[in-house]
Subunit: 143 residues, 2 copies
Amino acid sequence: MELKELIERYQTAINQVYRRVNLILKDKIHSDITTDQFSTLHYIIKNAKCTSTDVANEFGIGKSAVTAQINRLVDKELIERERDEEDRRVVYLHVTEKGVNFVNYTEKALYEVLGDYLKNFEKDEIYTFIQSLEKLAKIMNDE
Amino acid sequence: MELKELIERYQTAINQVYRRVNLILKDKIHSDITTDQFSTLHYIIKNAKCTSTDVANEFGIGKSAVTAQINRLVDKELIERERDEEDRRVVYLHVTEKGVNFVNYTEKALYEVLGDYLKNFEKDEIYTFIQSLEKLAKIMNDE
DNA sequence: ATTAAATAGTTCACCTTGTGAACTATATTA
DNA sequence: TAATATAGTTCACAAGGTGAACTATTTAAT
């Protein structure tokens, strides 16, 4: 099989999966938040006391984009900013209790749907798949 | 292993791959076009004489969003609109010669980079991976 | 045959997300 | 102490998305 064909099949399939997960998320997040905002919240919960710069690096976007995003989340009282007393340039981000509850709730709903899909797979198939995916991500990140 | 952990690993890895492919595309497309516009062009080439509604369905977005995108591509002379003479509500889309050349050129550059990454994988590993991915996409699409 | 309903696409007002340059404030180093 | 680096914000601007209202056309119903 041709490399080109493999890549096109990959692109088509990955786009469909990506879009579908997004639609499920959108469906499960009945509240007033976008999937991007959800991802940001999720990252900040998993990486407590991170900074804007961390978020910018994680998502590969500029710091000004992060400022705007954090502003929207602060407006919704899902995130709080806290300035470092040692180095007063630094601003730490943390998710409020409201934010944590919200993410937990949404995550649970999302995982139920995804879990349903995964019933169609053998355990081994899932492991192998994720291992390949992680290998690819690692290779790409290491440049 | 927990379902939750599997899904989180999947999400992290898939996001990294998605972002990296986007960065490569952005890098290879030195011209004045976005990755979204590239995806649209690519789809229209692969699906000759498709309509706005087709594009909207493929990408899971509204028709008004497609109109705006097609307008941008028409402005750049990469796409042309053609009204059906039978059913005058319908507008067919096709990519101009300029557009086709542009996509071919960019695709080639992209595939070279991706091909390099794939050298780290056994052929079997790639097939298995893509088959699992396509299976997942199919299950999700069939609802 | 005429009216009602469906379909394809566009326009509009509005929101989110991104960029990059210029800026403020603080820390580091030469 | 002066120059430079770093963290984050602000601003003007563009792409891309939504959903409702609209035009134009075709199809279905009475």
